[in-house]
């Protein structure tokens, strides 16, 4: 069996005295798309943030291609050069136009020349129908456009793994579709992704596997059609029931 791209092994994390991740085990293979679902506070976002070391964890280990993420061979920023993340609140740099937002990391972290970085940025922006906005500032864009720029910014460093943290949660309903289409395209290109989402229809579409989290544990893990249609764990059933009642499935 080949080494998984991301291997999460017995991961435990506390915020103060609160247990937020409770012995999580999860392997994600190359080209695989894993969706994490669950109520807010179940630890999904924290799990993503542990993977690229935005927050520290207390126990267990995360490996990228078999190498522990705190291995000195990654250096200070090496791990983050290989893992991209997109946030719910986009977090674009408001004082830079789109092109600078996208080319900052390639130029300053990866040492790509200005011309090459901009050419690549234009190419990616074009793929997401955003090239016309290259010289606009974030506040001149809609939420959906900003989120697409944030995705381009994460892709511009050619990451091996892309983490998506509720990327449509802050968007108006009519803008969600465009962003989800972008993620479907990424899947068809073979991007390895871990996606925290509340869009169950989208999870069914795009995921190879869906994990249901509650109180920091993965309670159930299965292919989407199975987990969403025939959940085994009573908590999963209850969660999905509430989602259906809210009209989100």
């Amino acid at each position: 069996m080949s080494t998984p791209r991301v291997a999460i092994d017995d991961l435990t994390k506390y915020y103060g005295q609160t247990l937020v991740l409770d012995e999580v085990f999860l392997d994600v293979d190359e080209h695989e798309v894993v969706c994490l679902i669950g109520a807010s506070g179940s630890g999904k976002s924290t799990l993503l943030r542990c993977i690229n070391q935005l927050v520290p964890f207390d126990h267990g280990q995360i490996r990228l291609d078999g190498v522990a993420i705190d291995d000195p061979s990654f250096g200070k920023t090496g791990l983050r050069q290989r893992i991209g993340i997109v946030f719910q609140a986009y977090n674009l740099f408001p004082h830079m136009h789109v092109l600078d937002n996208v080319t900052l990391a390639p130029r300053k972290v990866h040492g790509v020349g200005k011309r090459d970085a901009e050419a690549r940025a234009h190419e990616l922006l074009g793929l997401l129908d955003m090239d016309g906005f290259a010289l606009k500032y974030p506040e001149q864009l809609s939420g959906g456009q900003q989120q697409r720029v944030a995705i381009v910014r994460a892709l511009a460093t050619n990451p091996d793994v892309l983490l998506l943290d509720e990327v449509t949660a802050a968007l108006d309903p009519e803008l969600i579709g465009g962003v989800l289409d972008v993620i479907r395209d990424l899947k068809s290109q073979g991007m390895t992704m871990m996606i925290v989402t509340h869009e169950m229809g989208f999870a069914r579409d795009v995921a190879d596997r869906v994990c249901f989290l509650e109180e920091g544990r993965i309670l159930e893990e299965a292919p989407p059609e199975q987990l969403l249609s025939d959940p085994q764990h009573p908590s999963t059933r209850r969660f999905l029931q509430r989602i259906i009642e809210a009209g989100r499935l």
Partner: protein, 291 residues
């Protein structure tokens, strides 16, 4: 012209409710309030002027403070002093702006290895911000030249300016720090996640936003410094106030102080207006962003 074309290009567009018509004012409605304002202002100030100038000692006051001849005589001297004020002000502003940011960065650094810098910043700010400016000016402006340190200038003007710079740097760094802390956490997370180092995060993401946040507050400090340069007169630096003082001591006439006052106002009022304007523009910018 282009709007006309646009209008004719879409003839099918629904007319919709009309925009409100701007009420047309009669000349009376338009000019009467203005006339009232002007007349009442003139009357009030005119009466006040009458009362003041009819005072028994008005002649004495006028001679002591508003003697045109004395003003004319003192102007060259006071003005050349004022140029010293302006020079000290401009040079100090540049140095303060840079040093302030350095101290603010020291204070906002994280990690155990940065502890000495953090401690230095905290102690520096506490000491320098807690000491009256005039004490700093006396200490440095008279104290350091008295040491006659080899290789260092003994110019009082220089060391007095150093005192002002050190004091204002403490204030300025606190202003910068408030700007740094006002940048949302998500900006740090985004920069970190892209692989930027702590320094690159500061340089490319945090500081540009922080500085923009605090420009109005910085301009306020600049106006305050413009006046505080006059403190250098206490150590005998020949700036505007000192020159005015010298003139007064020679002639027993205070009109030279009025000259200095007018010169300061000519410099500070435009600065204050500029600050107001920048502040208003900044507020509008923020408002737009939240809408």
């Amino acid at each position: 012209m282009s709007s006309e074309r646009a209008a004719s290009a879409e003839p099918a567009r629904r007319a919709g409710p009309r925009p409100p018509v701007k009420a047309t004012l009669t000349p009376r409605e338009r000019y009467l309030p203005l006339a009232i304002s002007v007349v009442s202002t003139v009357v009030v100030f005119g009466v006040a002027w009458r009362v003041i100038t009819s005072a028994e000692n008005w002649d004495l006051i006028q001679r002591q403070f508003f003697d045109l001849e004395a003003m004319r005589a003192s102007l060259p001297q006071v003005f050349s002093g004022f140029l010293v004020n302006m020079t000290v002000w401009v040079v100090s502003l540049v140095v303060i702006a840079v040093l302030g940011i350095v101290i603010a960065i020291f204070r906002s650094l994280t990690g155990p290895w940065a502890a000495p810098l953090r401690v230095f910043a905290v102690v520096y700010i506490d000491l320098l911000r807690g000491t009256p400016s005039i004490l700093l000016v006396l200490l440095f402006g008279l104290g350091v030249p008295a040491l006659q340190l080899p290789g260092l200038t003994s110019s009082r003007l220089f060391w007095g300016s150093v005192a002002l710079v050190l004091g204002y740097t403490a204030y300025t760094s606190e202003v910068y720090r408030s700007g740094i802390e006002a940048v949302p956490d998500g900006q740090r997370a985004a920069a970190k996640a892209l692989g930027l180092t702590q320094w690159q995060t500061l340089r490319y993401s945090i500081l540009p936003q922080a500085v923009r946040n605090v420009i109005p507050a910085l301009l306020n400090l600049a106006v305050a410094l413009q006046k505080d340069v006059a403190l250098l007169s206490v150590i005998g630096a020949r700036e505007a106030v000192r020159e005015a003082q010298i003139f007064t001591a020679r002639t027993f006439n205070f009109s030279s102080y009025i000259v200095a006052t007018v010169l300061f106002l000519l410099a500070t009022i435009p600065m204050a207006r500029l600050t107001d304007w920048v502040t208003r523009r900044d507020q509008e910018r923020r408002l737009q962003r939240t809408l």
